[in-house]
Structures are given as structure tokens and as C-alpha cells.
């Protein structure tokens, strides 16, 4: 499969900070995976999940206040976005993901999941 948007030799690394294995944490991961698959394509990105409860001090240098927080580590510069990532357009704008690839099948079908409220 050809790169969706011109040459992009650098693989994407996105770190997702969560606190505990909550429905919101899981929703954020699913939504991030979906939008990355749609915009970057398989194998073009890596998502690392860091649970702040299990990694004390992981917030250092990152100013993590809200959870979940997604930070684009590469390509530089870093970009970040918070929330359960259900608002895809905000995720795309926040992480500066490339535009939709018409060649990627099924990408529109990946409807974002919102963390159940209440």
C-alpha cells in the first residue's frame, strides 16, 4: 500500500497517558487506534499506553493533568490532545494527522466510540 499522503519516512509514535484501566481509558485507546489506522495506515504508527498509577513520576516533563492525554512524540514537534478522543476532527487537528486517505478501505466505518456518560 502506498503512503497516503506523500512520502512519510518517519514512523509515528503516539503516547497515551491514562490513569487506571477505566472505560474512558479504553475508549481513548480504541478511538486513537481507529483514527491512526484511518489516517496513517497499518504499520505506520505505534501507540504506547502509560498508566500514571503504575508509573509514578511518568508525568514529569509532560505536564499531564488531564487523562487521557495523547502526545505525538514523532514526528516532531510534539503535539497533544486530551479526552477520550471521541471527537475525531479534534484528534486529527490536535495531533496534526494527515488528511483522509481515499485508498484506505473501511476508514469511514471506524465510528468513534464515546465513553458512556453517567
Amino acid at each position: 500500500m502506498a503512503p497516503p499522503d506523500g512520502p512519510c519516512p518517519e514512523p509515528w509514535l503516539i503516547e497515551l497517558f491514562v490513569v487506571g484501566d477505566t472505560p474512558r481509558s479504553r475508549a481513548a485507546l480504541r478511538n486513537l487506534q481507529a483514527v491512526c489506522a484511518a489516517r496513517l495506515g497499518d504499520g505506520r504508527y505505534t501507540i504506547e499506553v502509560t498508566d500514571l498509577r503504575e508509573h509514578p513520576g511518568a508525568w514529569r516533563g509532560n505536564q499531564i493533568l488531564a487523562s487521557p492525554t495523547a502526545i505525538r512524540r514523532t514526528p516532531l514537534p510534539e503535539r497533544r490532545v486530551i479526552g477520550d478522543l471521541s471527537r475525531t476532527e479534534q484528534v486529527v487537528a490536535g495531533l496534526e494527522l494527515p488528511g483522509p486517505s481515499p485508498g484506505v478501505p473501511g476508514s469511514p466505518a471506524a465510528e468513534p466510540v464515546e465513553e458512556p456518560r453517567g
Binding site: V19, Q63, I64, L65, S67, I82, R87, Q90, V91, E115
Partner: protein
């Protein structure tokens, strides 16, 4: 007005002079205190004090969480108080966490919570076993995030967590309204303190007021407070505890007659006010007190708010006081401070610094009334009160002069409000006044009050001579109290009368003496007469005896002729 204290309510002392007095022990331990005040009112500094004193004096590690100021700014707060922040951090006594918040920084893509912040703070607090936490500029959090519910939930959880841990917490905010609107009032209702600043004549003074203190008595008044390089100092106007020992030692005023009026002088460590109109001799009297202290070998701090040191030296030389000797011997020190140069806050700091450095036994403030320009009357009163506490607790005898306004007023009636306000704080109050009569000004001195001293109630005349001041008895003549030349004239009249009487006495004595001499002469002549008479009598008797003997001898001779021819015939 004070409430009764609930039993068992534990308090965490702030370690700030005055603050622990008005809160009767400090902040409620294990609870949250809300500190409200506008920007620049001293919230962060007070928080820094709370943590630093906790760590250094009470062995309670602390965490400062700053939402507004940068790490650099927070560090400057510590440095401004002379605190070694790196050392405290290294010793795990303190931890500073700066939470950077830029409105709109975080792009929000769905629902979120602030568990990240909570985890971070919990870890920071636990890492040093903090017992004290300051959350500085908390409402800034609401500006950092679009979802105020998430912020509210996080703060409520944080407050509960802190209380559950028994951590004494200080939450600062520029205004209460945001926190109350977000329904956080319940969590923050244990203790509420307001800070404010007011500018008067371009001088800023800070105030602190305890609005609420659940379950505990506290002072409801507003107290001025200071921020100095030595930290925060709150100035309670009415000290709850006035626990300085009362000395029974008397010290001389330097004027023997005034000592006599005071039944032996001032008590050491008692506060003295000398009030009077312009030119009544307040400074002259103060100098006597200073010189007397130096003569005893004590140190005297002479704080000038009006004149310069040179002016005082010159003026005092004119009344016979050479003060340079005491200056050279290090017993006298002048400190000059233009009353208008600083706010009251700064004046107090400078005075306390000077006192700490020189350690005087006697301190003079001349004239304290000039400070009324640097603050309101009540502020001057509270400053004086604070100063008195400071000095008396160190056993220093302070003397204040106060210029009384009201030209030509009768003494005792035109007592200004400042005088009344300040005099109530003093142990001893001496008033000087000008009295104009017969076209002449004379000075009067009286002791208005002297706690614990059986003082004279008499008004005396106060003379300023080229050998210092002198206090003389006034004379109550037929027209009232006589002073000045009226007194002199009265005395002269009295003197003339005495001389006349003396002359009369002398003449009479001379007459008597003459009479005595005359009588003595009479006696002498009579005695001589008597002696002559006696002598005549003796001579008489001797002559008669000789005749008798001759006659007897003649008769005997006739008998011997026997039948005396004459008889025979």
C-alpha cells in the same frame, strides 16, 4: 467578639508572629483553610511561610503547588524571605510543584478528567510524607480547562483526599466567588482568611482578617501585617497575651524633681508618653531620660522622625547637654527616619531592625505623632501597640513624644484623638503645656497617669535653663496658680514682707537688748548701793561696840576706887 473553642480541635501553628495569636494557635490541623486576597496581597508569601516554618520549626514537610507563578517566581518567594529553597528541597522537607496552565493549551477531544493531576499531587505529597500543603491560585485551574465539571470534581476529590490524610492545607484564591459558584464552598468552610491592601498617601499597607474559623474562637478584627526579609509579621492591635514580666526596678527620668513626682522614677520596661504642644520641651525632657540612661551605662536608641542628629545635638547643647560623649562611647545612637519616607509597615521594620542590632535598654521615639501622616490614626495606634509589644517583651523602656495640636488651648481640654488613642496604650503619661498669662508663656508639667506609681497630681512649672530642665513648685496665690514672673513677683512680694518683718524683729531685738543692758546697769548700781549700805552698817556696829567697851572700862575703874570719892562724897 469570640466564640468558645471546641475541645480537641488541633491546630497547626503557622509560626508567624501575631498570626498564631489571633487564630489562637494556627490553622485547623488536617483541614483546609481558604486564603483569599487580590494579586499582590501576600497570599503566596504567607503560604511559603506556612510551609517553611512547618518544615524548619515544626518538623512537618510541605508541598507547594503553584498554579500560577512559575517555578522561578516561586523560588524567588522563598529567596525573598531568606529561605534556602534548594536546601529544603534536598532535605526532603519541601517540594515545589509548578502546574503550568495556559488557557486553550490543551485541545479537548472528548470527555476527560483530571486524574492525572491528582495522581501527580498525591505522588508528590507522599514522596516526602508532607503534612502541610499549599495550593496556590487554585481557581486558575478553571481557566486551564473548558470542562469546569471535570475541574470541580477533581478539586473536590483532592480536598477530600487531603482531609482524609490529615494534611493541613492552605488553598489560595484571588476571589472566593469562582470556588463558591462551583459548589466547592462546603469543602472550604473550615477556615477562611482574607488579605487586602490599602493605599494611603502612596504607601501600601497589608491587612489580614480571619473571616471564619469553624469551632474555634478567633479575632474578627482586621490586622495589618508586614512582609519583610525576615518573613511575615502580623500586628495584633490588642495582644491576647501580654506576658512580659513587670519590673519593679525604678529608673531615673534624669530630672530629680520629676523622679520625686513619680515617687522614684519610671518603672523599667514601662512605656512612657510625653505629649505637649510645640515648644513645650518634649525633646528636652526626652534628652534627660536619654542622658540618665547613658549615665547609668545603658544603651539608648534615639529615634528621630523630624529632626536630624545634628539639630538635636545643637539644640541640646544650648540647654547644657553634651551628647557627643555618649555617642562616642557607643551608649547613645540616633536613628533618623523621615516619617513620610515610608509606610508604617516599613517604619516598624526599620525600628525593629535598629532595636535588634543596638539592643538598647531605653528607646526614644520623637515624635511619634509625625507617623500619623504615614497612616491613619488607628494604624498608628496599632503600630505603636505592636512596637510596644516588641520593646516591652525585650525589657526595653520606650518613651514616645507626641505633638499635641491645638494652639493656645487650655491644658487638658484640647487633647487630640491621637493622644487619647496612643496614651491608652502607655503605662505612664506626662503632659507638657504652655500657659499664657500676663503676656508671658510658661511651661507646665504634670503626670497624667503612671500605672503602679503613687504619683504626684500636682501641676508643676517646667523650666528650660542653660543647665537643662528644672521642675519647680508652682505657687497657688489668691488668683490661682502662679507661674513665671507672676510667681517671681509673688515670691518677691513675699520676700519684701519677710524682710520688713525681719527688720521689725531686728529693731525690737535691739530695743530689748538696750533694755536689758539698762536694767543690768540698774541692777549693778543697786547692788553697789546695797554693798555700801552693808558696809556702813558694819562700820557703825564696830564704832558702837568700842564706845560701849570704853564706857564699861570707865565704870569698872570707878568701882575699883572703892568707895569711890565720888560716891563717898
Amino acid at each position: 467578639m469570640e466564640q468558645t473553642e471546641l475541645p480537641g480541635l488541633s491546630k497547626a501553628p503557622l509560626g508567624v508572629e501575631g498570626f498564631d495569636t489571633i487564630t489562637r494557635g494556627g490553622l485547623p490541623r488536617g483541614r483546609i483553610t481558604l486564603l483569599v486576597g487580590p494579586s499582590g496581597s501576600g497570599k503566596t508569601i504567607l503560604g511559603v511561610e506556612f510551609l517553611a516554618r512547618g518544615a524548619l520549626q515544626f518538623g512537618e514537610p510541605g508541598v507547594l503547588v503553584g498554579f500560577e507563578e512559575s517555578e522561578q517566581e516561586l523560588a524567588e518567594n522563598f529567596a525573598s524571605l531568606g529561605l534556602d529553597l534548594p536546601g529544603l528541597i534536598k532535605g526532603k522537607q519541601l517540594l515545589v510543584d509548578h502546574i503550568a496552565l495556559t488557557p486553550g493549551l490543551e485541545r479537548e477531544a472528548g470527555s476527560y478528567d483530571l486524574e492525572g493531576l491528582l495522581v501527580r499531587l498525591e505522588q508528590a505529597i507522599d514522596s516526602i510524607g508532607a503534612r502541610r500543603v499549599v495550593l496556590d491560585a487554585v481557581p486558575t485551574l478553571f481557566q486551564g480547562f473548558g470542562d469546569s465539571t471535570a475541574v470541580r470534581v477533581a478539586l473536590a476529590r483532592l480536598f477530600d483526599w487531603l482531609k482524609g490524610r490529615g494534611i493541613t492545607t492552605l488553598v489560595s484564591a484571588e476571589s472566593e466567588s469562582e470556588l463558591m459558584r462551583q459548589g466547592l464552598g462546603r469543602s472550604l468552610s473550615d477556615c477562611v482568611i482574607h488579605l487586602s491592601t490599602r493605599v494611603r498617601d502612596r504607601q501600601t499597607t497589608r491587612y489580614l482578617r480571619v473571616i471564619k474559623y469553624r469551632g474555634a474562637g478567633h479575632h474578627l478584627d482586621e490586622f495589618p501585617f508586614l512582609i519583610t526579609d525576615g518573613g511575615v509579621s502580623v500586628l495584633p492591635v490588642t495582644s491576647v497575651v501580654q506576658s512580659y514580666g513587670a519590673s519593679s526596678e525604678r529608673i531615673s527620668t534624669g530630672v530629680p524633681e520629676l523622679d520625686a513626682m513619680l515617687d522614684g522614677g519610671f518603672y523599667r520596661g514601662s512605656s512612657i508618653l510625653v505629649s505637649g504642644e510645640a515648644g513645650t520641651g518634649k525633646s528636652s525632657l526626652a534628652v534627660h531620660v536619654a542622658a540618665a540612661a547613658c549615665a547609668r551605662g545603658e544603651r539608648c536608641l534615639y529615634y528621630l522622625f523630624e529632626e536630624s542628629q545634628e539639630e538635636v545635638l545643637r539644640n541640646m547643647r544650648s540647654i547644657g547637654f553634651e551628647l557627643t560623649e555618649w555617642l562616642e562611647r557607643g551608649l547613645l545612637r540616633f536613628a533618623v527616619s523621615r516619617a513620610s519616607a515610608f509606610g508604617l509597615e516599613m517604619h516598624l521594620v526599620r525600628i525593629e531592625d535598629a532595636v535588634r542590632e543596638f539592643e538598647p535598654q531605653v528607646a526614644l521615639f520623637d515624635p511619634i505623632s509625625n507617623l500619623v501622616g504615614a497612616g491613619s490614626l488607628s494604624e498608628v495606634k496599632s503600630m505603636t501597640s505592636r512596637l510596644l509589644d516588641h520593646l516591652k517583651s525585650r525589657g526595653i523602656t520606650p518613651l514616645f513624644t507626641l505633638l499635641r495640636e491645638g494652639e493656645g488651648a487650655h491644658s487638658g481640654t484640647e487633647v487630640s484623638r491621637a493622644e487619647v488613642g496612643v496614651s491608652s496604650l502607655m503605662d505612664c503619661w506626662i503632659t507638657l503645656s504652655n500657659r499664657e498669662s500676663d503676656g508671658e508663656q510658661t511651661r507646665l508639667i504634670s503626670v497624667r497617669k503612671a500605672r503602679g506609681i503613687n504619683h504626684s497630681n500636682q501641676v508643676r512649672e517646667f523650666l528650660i535653663t542653660d543647665r537643662g530642665v528644672d521642675v519647680v513648685d508652682v505657687i497657688v496665690g489668691p488668683t490661682g496658680v502662679l507661674t513665671g514672673s507672676a510667681r517671681a513677683a509673688f515670691q518677691a512680694r513675699q520676700g519684701a514682707e519677710a524682710a520688713r518683718r525681719q527688720r521689725l524683729n531686728d529693731a525690737r531685738r535691739r530695743e530689748l537688748e538696750l533694755e536689758r543692758t539698762r536694767l543690768r546697769a540698774q541692777i549693778d548700781s543697786l547692788e553697789a548701793e546695797l554693798r555700801n549700805a552693808e558696809q556702813d552698817l558694819e562700820e557703825d556696829r564696830t564704832g558702837t561696840m568700842a564706845e560701849d567697851e570704853a564706857r564699861l572700862a570707865e565704870a569698872e575703874a570707878a568701882a575699883r576706887r572703892g568707895s569711890s570719892p565720888s560716891e563717898a562724897e
